[in-house]
Amino acid sequence: MSHSVLTLDTRTKADPRYGFFTDTSICIGCKACEVACKEWNQVPEDMQGFTGKSYDNTQALGANTWRHVAFVEQRVPVGQEAAAEDLVQAAERANASDGWGLDTYQDGEGIRWLMASDVCKHCTTAACLDVCPTGALFRTEYGTVVVQEDICNGCGYCVPACPFGVIDRREGDGRVWKCTLCYDRLKDDMEPACAHACPTKSIQFGELSELRERAEKRVEKLTAAGHTDARLYGADPDDGVDGFGAFFLLLDEPEVYGLPPDPVAPTHNVGQVWAGVFAGAAALGAGIAAAVLGGRR
């Protein structure tokens, strides 16, 4: 891997750029990613107890949760049977999927399990980085977005700026924390802890362009095998954040997994924001002038 000079630029210049492809169709919900992440990065414990939300007792990404496995239970027609027009076609598809090893782990008896390991998206246009006033958040030579904990002063601006609700301030610490895509491991030519621990290769680490190709092929195969609901989330470089550095293959709409369906980096509209500010400032100046001069007829 090339080790170029760190840059404060908000756009990725890293070449090649590295990231995650999380293929949720083969996630088994084991949470090894959550554990490996916590262990490697020494992330403090989060909530303890049961939420009653299926097997999800982690709940959401945050300062102390950098990988989060979502569990969704659905009663929907699934897999080959649902998509096939008749039994013969269903059997053909079942054969095809057996041959290709394309069965997802998530179908069975009228219920469908969606399991998905969520993570920071390492956006191409990253709102957290754009709004960070201290430069604590920066773009690494791998194209990832990382917080420098020795710079962050805990202003909290990145927290509501993130369109995914990923980054958060840690209580008792005062600074913000999130996935670093294991910046330290990448420096030593090791893949991130979560990808390393994933037993089904649902979490894949690699060059982003290569991952995108791999993901396209996976969607084609799944679709051919009857999983017509398979779709990529965040693989399009023309989306509202100009593409994710960590993107996903999902089997339902993003919002079902707690993800925004059409995220837009608020800083895309920063021109309008400033236009509003200066129009307001001009109006205030005019108002003051009118109030002072208004009495001198």
Binding site: G154, G156, V270
Partner: protein, 315 residues
């Protein structure tokens, strides 16, 4: 886990159920609520007071109203002195407040705002120092102009600061919220000057207070209307209550100042106090509306889903 056999017909039936509003993951929010503390809306007030007071002071001075100018300068200094204290105490690591000035970053209104506040604070302190001591009159004049000019964006950038986030009730108000803050800041400066200035010299302050109150109320209504469904947090729950209280106090304080403050000192004091309470409530309402907007996934998912459907329909 219990498994029930679901008859195929029922499964098909379920899939025919029409779209019933935004979906979510156990109703959990998509966005994180801000971690900001009450210092932040208070700062919206003190920054607005400081900035608008500097503008009022300079204009009063230019028109020869030195009594009003002197008092407005002191109000401006009070505003810009308290502001950094509030901002620093809101930080997770207050000892690192100077890191705010490591960069100048136009994609971050907080970065630009920190520079505006630092410059405006310095200019205002110099202006007031020169005003009170009579020393360095020409440098003092330059400081006064700088303080007044910087005061205008100081009063409104905070609207841009919250608008530059992913929170729908703030982000979608990016073109309207600055006018709410402009009106609110004018009312803040007017109210403070009405309280501290003798009635005879306070005509401009009364006009600014009453006019600012009206603009603030009207702009808040306009913003809420233009937000459509995303404006709900400004109508419901705690922020809704705060909005209504703010509107009532602003109108009452503004009216009292406009009609009675000229001849009655108690009316001037009461009007100034009521209006000040109103503008603080207004800032608080905007602040809390952002929390409410972030906490319900429908505000995030609904408009995004609608956007996708519109794109699909047009392509």
């Amino acid at each position: 886990m219990t498994r029930e056999a679901v008859p195929a017909e029922r499964v098909r039936e379920q899939s025919m159920v029409p779209y019933g509003g935004p979906q979510s993951y156990y109703g959990q929010p998509v966005l994180k609520e801000p971690v900001w503390t009450p210092e932040v809306p208070l700062y919206f007030y003190t920054g607005g007071l400081g900035g608008a007071s500097a503008g009022l002071a300079l204009m009063a001075e230019l028109t020869g109203n030195h009594k009003l100018a002197r008092r407005a300068w002191l109000n401006a200094l009070a505003g810009v002195s308290v502001s950094p204290v509030l901002l620093i105490s809101d930080l997770g690591k207050p000892s690192r407040f100077l890191n705010m000035l490591r960069l100048f970053k136009v994609t971050s209104p907080m970065s630009v705002g920190s520079w505006i506040l630092a410059a405006s604070g310095t200019a205002t302190a110099a202006a007031v120092g020169s005003e009170l001591t009579g020393m360095f009159p020409s440098a003092g004049r330059a400081a006064k102009v700088a303080s007044a000019l910087l005061g205008m964006p100081l009063a409104t950038y905070t609207a841009g600061l919250v608008a530059n986030t992913s929170i729908p009730a703030w982000h979608d108000a990016r073109l309207t919220l600055p006018f709410v803050f402009a009106g609110s800041s004018a009312a803040s400066a007017g109210a403070a000057a009405v309280i501290t200035t003798p009635a005879k010299q306070a005509g401009a302050a009364r006009r600014l207070a009453a006019g600012g109150a009206l603009v603030s109320v009207a702009a808040a209504l306009g913003m809420e209307k233009s937000l459509g469904e995303l404006g709900e947090p400004y109508r419901k729950g705690l922020p809704g209550k705060l909005s209504r209280v703010a509107g009532a106090l602003n109108l009452a304080g503004g009216a009292l100042i406009a009609t009675r403050a000229r001849h009655s000192r108690p009316a001037a004091l009461a009007g100034g106090a009521i209006l000040t309470a109103g503008v603080i409530a207004e800032r608080w309402a905007v602040f809390r509306a952002g929390f409410m907007s972030a906490s319900d996934p429908k505000y995030t998912v609904g408009p995004q889903r609608a956007r996708i459907e519109r794109r699909r329909a047009s392509s």
